[in-house]
């Protein structure tokens, strides 16, 4: 009874709850999943420009060795950060497939979303200011149109309605 007397959640709030619940479970995985996950966050250093687990070059001098190193690190029980750090120490910063989420690397991640938000905000502001513009004043009520002017309006309506 008490539950039913509570105000109902709005659809947006319900969606947000579902979203939070979904993301709570993100990141759950086993050893294989960790291998795949970290392997997709590292680059092969053979200059092929491909992610480690996707480098498939015949006779590649690096990818097999790097995969073995990754598997060994996971077997040792190294955590994700430690594993990636050991690769950075050995192969340099460019071994990581995406900028870090710390320090200056964070700018890479934030910038597109910041521009998106700024763009959205600007657009909403522009649209609102357009809507606020005063409508052209009519002389005395609605003036009936006919002849060529009416034809022009009809053409405009056709153009704007397409069908």
């Amino acid at each position: 009874m008490r539950l039913s007397s509570r105000p109902k959640l709005k659809p947006a709030a319900q969606l947000a709850l579902i979203g939070v619940a979904l993301f709570t479970f993100l990141g759950v995985g086993d050893e294989d999943a960790r291998f795949k996950d970290i392997g997709h966050h590292l680059m092969c250093v053979c200059s092929c420009g491909q992610v480690l687990l996707e480098c498939n070059h015949v006779g590649c001098q690096y990818s097999d060795r790097m995969r073995n190193e990754l598997a060994a690190a996971l077997d040792r029980g190294d955590n994700d950060d430690l594993t990636i750090q050991s690769f950075i120490q050995k192969y340099g910063m460019t071994v990581v497939a995406a900028p870090s989420t710390k320090g200056f690397g964070r700018v890479a991640w934030i910038m597109p979303f910041a521009v998106l938000l700024a763009g959205m905000g600007t657009l909403v502001w522009i649209v609102r200011s357009w809507r606020m513009r005063p409508a052209p004043a009519l002389a005395d009520g609605i003036r009936p149109v006919k002849g060529p002017e009416l034809e022009r309006f009809r053409e405009q309506a056709d153009k704007e309605t397409d069908l």
């Binding site: 420009g49 990581v96 497939a97 995406a98 890479a108 357009w130 069908l163």
Partner: protein, 687 residues
């Protein structure tokens, strides 16, 4: 003949290139002066400039013919031919030598620009003054490329030292049928955007009244966009079918360079309708078409200057400075004319409602531009990081997948909603009515995927796939419902059958309904992409009779065999593929060793499983990786890539839609029903 060509071709080629530069420069200078002069004198001078422009095309064409002839006659005295061809290179690839290297591809670029200019100058009577302005702009761009060819990247440069008996050969990666058509398509797209830009700038400079320049360039823009789309997809398919890594898009700077003008070009195709229909977004459109042109050049600068690392061959060269200054000059020129004439670009109407076709176009444009910015930002960030903190970082697929995918999903949502909105304003009731069934369809697909085992909470990639599937379904159902709704209206008025009415509906407004078909194709492409998180692969050393399981398929190695021809020696595996007990096909993954370049190359074999799963089709993708150095055993790698064939199907739908957009409209049928019925609200919100 060979002796003649070895003496004459470099000289002929060099001469016609120089002649082309002189003619192009005359066309630009005389054309500009004629416009300044005006009157009868200006008209005469302008005519000579127009003819010089046409002659430029003839000269550049001759230069291209000379280079191709040099490839076919094995004229290795020309350094470019020596580096990119050899005697035993098959004929079609000798033709493709024209665009296989830096200098040749610049000549090809120049040829395409000259061809576009040629067509434009022949059609000048449509609007002589506007065409004269556009012709001058095109001539200016042409002069830049001809200067580059004559002074920085000469395709007819003579090889120093003793004449070699054979050439170094074409890069094995480029010896694939698609490489004969992929670069021309891509370049037709890149170069083609110069034409609408030239008209836009011309219209701005002369303060051209009305939107006629948009009507004139509408087909140019559509065709150009179509070429660029085909070029990008062919490049993706080439990467998929040749590189042997089982993927089709690697976010390499060269790939990004092609995507950026495509994104702004697509935004332009949408926003230009606002200007046509409502006289709005004039300034935005001007900037958008300039950005598209500019990004095509910027992409070339990025990938050919060596400033950004790329796996593509053009990387290191000295022509970057030329492109840099061209970018600066073109930006300065555009800004100058924009500032001078911006008062001419005032909107004729105001936006009346947030829920309207206009606002959907605004948000669609914003998202396209943000997507373009994201790609540009990701491409530049390694350089920015190096400048700021002294060390380079990699910006690879994980960055783009996490940043670009959400923007792409928002765009997909707008693709679904946009067509349901009417110009000026749409009532929420109308939106709900038109949107409900497609939305329920999308939701049903999402639930079905979860029932089938997709767990969006396990991996963000699955979450994106689920969202993409739902939104792609929404787009497809929206398009179908728009056709059905419009078809019903026509059917009621004319008595035609529903399919006949839908056909008539499309024919009455080919651009709009062709655009919907393109949207449908995009949704199909998205369905092809969303299978990526479910890709599987296995790798094994396989002797005769060895088996390997991949999903429901079993691969059995039957044998290995070898062959040899003048161009390469090769070895391939014979792999029988079974599903259950039934053999469904035999595949022959191959490994080649090209003799001229001594470079190995894998040729994967791909089997789309249409016969087994029509809708949930997968690609069975087999690579013969070579032999294990220690054991000598052949290594086979197999991928099972779900839904990938839909990507190429989607491209075909997109191109079909683009072509249908180019077909002229028919006149509307006269209804034979009483006037009372005609005035009823017959069409959905989108109209």
């Amino acid at each position: 003949m060979s002796q003649f060509s070895s003496v004459a071709l470099p000289q002929v080629g060099s001469f016609v290139l120089l002649l082309a530069l002189a003619l192009g420069a005359y066309s630009f200078l005389a054309g500009a002066f004629a416009l300044f002069l005006g009157g009868k004198e200006g008209e005469y001078l302008g005519e000579t400039a127009r003819r010089a422009g046409i002659a430029t095309f003839a000269a550049v064409f001759l230069a291209a013919v000379a280079l191709v002839t040099a490839a076919f006659t094995d004229d290795f005295s020309i350094a470019y031919i020596f580096h990119h061809s050899n005697r035993d290179l098959p004929g079609p690839y000798k033709f493709a030598v024209l665009w296989s290297g830096q200098e040749g591809s610049l000549l090809f670029w120049s040829l395409l620009l000259a061809t576009y200019g040629f067509v434009l100058r022949l059609r000048y009577k449509t609007d002589p003054r506007l065409f004269a302005y556009a012709s001058v702009v095109i001539a200016a761009v042409q002069v830049f490329f001809l200067m580059l060819l004559n002074f920085a990247a000469h395709p007819f440069a003579i090889l120093q030292g003793q004449l070699p008996p054979d050439g170094s050969g074409l890069n094995p990666l480029l010896q694939y049928p698609e490489m004969v058509i992929h670069p021309p398509m891509l370049y037709l797209g890149y170069v083609g955007f110069t034409v609408p830009f030239a008209f836009a700038l011309g219209a701005l400079i002369m303060r051209y009244p009305g939107e006629k320049w948009i009507h004139i360039t509408r087909r140019w823009t559509m065709v150009t966009w179509g070429f660029l789309t085909i070029g990008i997809f062919l490049g993706a398919h080439w990467a998929y079918a040749v590189l042997g890594w089982g993927g089709y898009w690697g976010w390499d700077p060269v790939e990004n360079a092609s995507l950026m003008p495509w994104l702004t070009g697509t935004a332009f195709l949408h926003s230009v309708m606002m200007q046509e229909k409502r006289g709005m977004l004039k300034t935005w459109n001007m900037w958008l078409i300039f950005a598209t042109f500019w990004l095509a050049i910027l992409g070339t600068f990025l990938t050919r200057s060596g400033i950004i690392s790329s796996v593509h061959a053009f990387a290191q060269s000295s022509i970057g400075a030329w492109f840099f200054w061209f970018l600066i000059v073109s930006l300065a020129t555009f800004v100058f004319f924009y500032v001078q004439n911006k008062s001419h670009l005032r909107s004729e109407h105001k936006l009346e409602s947030m829920i309207s076709r206009e606002s959907s176009f605004l948000f669609n444009n914003l998202l396209f531009v943000i997507a373009c910015f994201t790609v540009l930002w990701g491409t530049w960030f390694p350089k920015i990081s190096e400048l700021v903190q002294g060390n380079k970082v990699t910006v690879g697929a994980p960055f783009y997948n996490n940043v670009a995918v959400p923007v792409a999903l928002l765009l997909l949502l707008l693709t679904a909603v946009g067509p349901l909105l009417a110009w000026r304003r749409t009532s929420l009731e109308s939106l709900r009515r038109n949107f409900m069934w497609p939305a329920l369809g999308g939701l049903a697909v999402g639930i079905l995927m979860m029932i089938l085992g997709v767990r969006p909470w396990k991996d963000v990639a699955y979450f994106y796939s689920l969202m993409a599937a739902m939104l792609a379904t929404l787009v497809m159902l929206t398009v179908i419902s728009e056709f059905i709704r419009g078809g019903r209206v026509i059917s009621r008025h004319t008595g035609f059958s529903l399919p006949g009415s839908m056909l008539h509906l499309w024919h009455r407004n080919t651009r709009r309904y062709g655009g919907y078909i393109v949207h449908f194709g995009v949704a199909v492409v998205i369905i092809g992409i969303l299978g990526t998180p479910f890709n599987r692969d296995v790798e094994k050393e396989m002797g005769f009779g060895d088996k390997m399981n991949l999903g429901p398929y079993t691969l059995v190695c039957q044998s290995y065999t070898q062959d040899d021809n003048a161009n390469y020696s090769n070895e391939w595996a014979i792999i029988n593929v079974f599903k259950g007990d039934q053999q469904i096909t035999t595949l022959y993954p191959e490994r080649r060793l090209y003799k001229a370049s001594s470079q190995p190359q894998t040729i994967p074999r791909i089997y789309p499983t249409y016969a087994q799963d029509l809708f949930l089709v997968s690609d069975l993708y087999i690579v013969y990786e070579g032999r294990n150095d220690t054991t000598g055993q052949p290594i086979i790698k197999a991928h099972l890539n779900p839904l990938v064939p839909w990507i190429w199907t989607g491209l075909i739908v997109m191109i079909f839609g683009t072509i249908t957009c180019l077909i002229p409209n028919t006149a509307p049928l006269r209804a034979t029903v009483p006037a009372r019925v005609q005035t009823a609200p017959v069409v959905g919100a989108g109209d």
